[in-house]
């Protein structure tokens, strides 16, 4: 009986680990959209996800990156109206099954809903 | 009632399932737009192609040497005969007969060696036979590359080394057995059937000779055979040689019907469908009759030809290869795991 109980525990633990692995290892597609949204115009931006090397994205372009796991850090760098360099650090979370799009113009202008799931 | 029960028990459920399955396919086929006549014709053509290869298993089973998983060895001898015959430029029936005649000394030699090895490993024949067959295929692959063949029909037109992987016998002896009988009939492979009947009759005669009786005794009870003064090892070698020679002849008949000589890796798994066929026909690891050969080949080839067309028509997917794998290996597995067949090739 003890053995059965232990196996149940073991299976539960393994299932838990599997779930954790699934969540933390799941690869997501994240689009970075630099097109005009509503009244917000787009500008050239340099971005970096999870500390990777920064990349530039021009106006009206869309980039795609693969990220692994649920929690991510996004750093963007751009020149504001005044020509001053601005660095914005943001975090975002993804549920295990979703892919997402980041709308840079929204982010730059401080809107809340700068990231939307794709599906 | 009891009779039917024992009959069913003797036949074994896989055989019954396969027979019913095949029957049901023949019944169903007209309703889903398959031409029953041509389907049956297909089955018969393939029967003619394969029957001798299946027949070649009989001597070894009879002598208790087990299922001949080393059949590729005989097949290679047949291939040698075929390519040498083409190289010599023999055509028509002469080419076919030449191929057989040339292949026989090779087959006898191979079989003799193979038989002696199998005598050293009584009880473990099947596994070792399998790997002897595999190794012979690999070594012959090297031979096809190295042997100095010149015939334009067989070497690569440009580039490449050695012989082609498939050699057409169109201009040599394609369907020669039918042509000889002046019956180039697509429906009924009469030539092959007559040839098979001759060989099967030869086999029947053989098992009524002194050596044939001795072979049966060795297979059914080796202690009895020993006490009767039979030289068991010698008889076993004889049976292996016979099987190997028949396999060589079998592959040549197969090729003349198929139209191509397939070299290199083609003979690798030749043994498995033949073995599956004879088992479906009701043979066991150490017991077989010619009826088993005929019934088994027909059922097995029937399944192979009918399932793809029927399944294709129903679910639009070609599953023939998968079904072939499952049926043939499932059948062999069933035979190996049966308690009463526990003689392990003894």
């Amino acid at each position: 009986m003890k053995i059965v109980r232990n196996w149940i525990i073991l299976i539960a633990v393994l299932t838990g680990i599997a779930a954790a692995l699934f969540i933390s290892g799941k690869q997501h597609k994240v689009f970075i959209d630099n097109k005009k949204v509503g009244e917000y115009a787009a500008i050239d931006v340099s971005y970096s996800i999870n500390g990777e090397k920064a990349k530039n994205i021009k106006v009206n372009k869309k980039a795609m990156v693969y990220v692994k796991g649920p929690k991510h850090k996004l750093i963007i760098e751009f020149k504001d109206d005044t020509g001053k360099d601005v660095i914005l650090e943001n975090e975002f979370k993804l549920t295990p099954t979703e892919d997402a799009t980041i709308y840079l113009p929204l982010l730059i202008n401080g809107e809340e809903d700068w990231i939307k799931p794709n599906n | 009632m009891n009779n039917i029960k024992t009959m069913l028990k003797n036949a074994g459920w896989p055989r019954i399932i396969i027979t019913l399955f095949l029957l049901s396919m023949y019944v169903v086929s007209p309703f889903i737009g398959i031409n029953l006549k041509s389907a049956l014709g297909d089955t018969l053509v393939r029967f003619g192609m394969n029957a001798i290869l299946v027949l070649s298993l009989v001597p070894m089973i009879q002598s208790g040497t087990g299922l001949n998983f080393g059949m590729p060895l005989g097949v290679e001898a047949g291939l040698l005969g075929a390519v040498i015959s083409i190289e010599m430029g023999l055509g028509g029936f002469m080419g076919f007969a030449g191929a057989i005649i040339i292949s026989i000394p090779f087959a006898v030699l191979f079989g003799w060696l193979y038989g002696h090895i199998l005598n050293k490993v009584k009880g473990g024949e099947m596994m070792i036979a399998t790997y002897i067959g595999f190794s012979s295929v690999a070594i012959m692959c090297i031979m096809w590359l190295v042997l100095p063949f010149k015939s334009q029909d067989m070497i690569w037109a440009y580039g490449g080394e050695g012989l082609r992987t498939t050699i057409s016998v169109e201009s040599h002896w394609h369907k020669i057995l039918d042509k000889v009988l002046h019956m180039p009939n697509d429906m009924l492979p009469l030539g092959e059937m007559v040839f098979f009947a001759i060989l099967a009759f030869g086999m029947w005669i053989f098992f009524r000779s002194r050596t044939g009786y001795a072979m049966k005794a060795v297979g059914t009870n080796d202690k009895f055979a020993k006490a009767t003064g039979i030289n068991i090892d010698k008889i076993r070698v004889k049976s292996v040689v016979m099987s190997t020679v028949l396999a060589a002849v079998g592959i040549i008949v197969y090729q003349q019907s198929f139209g191509f000589v397939q070299l290199y890796l083609a003979p690798f798994y030749m043994a498995f469908p033949a073995i599956a066929a004879i088992l479906i026909g009701g043979a066991s690891v150490n017991k077989v009759t010619i009826v088993n050969v005929v019934v088994g080949t027909f059922l097995f080839q029937g399944i192979l030809t009918m399932t793809p067309s029927v399944v294709n028509n129903i679910i639009q997917t070609d599953m023939s290869e998968t079904i072939r794998i499952i049926v043939s290996n499932g059948m062999i597995l069933y035979a190996l795991t049966r308690k009463e067949g526990a003689g392990s090739g003894k």
Partner: protein, 368 residues
Amino acid sequence: MENKIKKFLINNVVPIFMVIIILLSIPISGLSIEYLIQEIILRLSRNLFLVLSLLIPIIAGMGLNFGIVLGAMAGQIALIFITDWNVVGLQGFFLAVIITLPIAALMGYVGGIVLNRAKGREMITSMILGFFINGVYQLLVLYGMGKVIPIKNEAILLSRGHGIRNAIDLKNIRRALDDGITFNIGQYSIPVLTILAIVLLCLFIVWFRKTKLGQDMRAIGQDIEVSKSSGIAVDRTRILAIVISTILAGIGQLIFLQNIGTMNTYNSHEQIGMFAIAALLIGGATVSKASIPNALSGVVLFHTMFVLAPRAGKELIGSAQIGEYFRVFISYGIIALVLILHQWRREKEKEAERKRILEMNSNQAGGN
């Protein structure tokens, strides 16, 4: 003394033969030693786990378990799933391990039951079982996946909408384990995690042989009837041996494939049993006796030959193809040879034993 040397030579004829072939072909091939060493490290980490998975059934007297392809298929099914789910990196690898476990255990259980019905001819049966399950696997993967079993990732599905493609790019977990931690010795890079996994398995085997279960397996391997009469649950123990072997083979296949980086859905597993067995036998193992050093040296010898043969063939006869076929021949030929030697030796030993007893008795009688 002379007798001892002779015995050693006879017992190790296969490895000695291989060493000679390799020593001869190194200069012919023109490959550098450095290249060879790097290649051997690569192949050790790729194959050793699989080869080690063969050991436990040998202890239990079930011979060479050609049924490890069952485990390999379990591993591949797991890989299809994680590729479909897009779980990447080490997480992907370990998730695949967890998924493999139950599938491989189930397959091993089935295999064990089948082999219990075929005592005395386990090897041929396990080989045919492998072919048979391969058919079932095809049915499942080629026709079931995408239809009965939901698969979303179009990159791995055939264009007809169901069935898995012939080749799957495993970029999600390519070298995940190998490159997890690496360590450089001189110019050679060592895949630490993979080696660690292999070392752990070796430790497991060493420990396992010393458990009660391991002892029972050894007993069964030597004499089934005696074991039965002393109350050991023979059939159950044999099933366990196959289950363990199959699970290990499943993990071994994962290690193998993450290293290769692509998976031939319908072929990758087919040759696994044969190559692993050939490697083990080349290391000097027999059907009834195999050790970790056999596995290790076998992988080194076999794969050195594997690397060398085509090159040597090319340099020697101007045909890489010949070398290629030669190594196929060696793989099959070695298995055939070892099986023959084993069976033959067993007969000889039985004979010698009988002679000994007879002589002993006649001596006694003479003494009276």
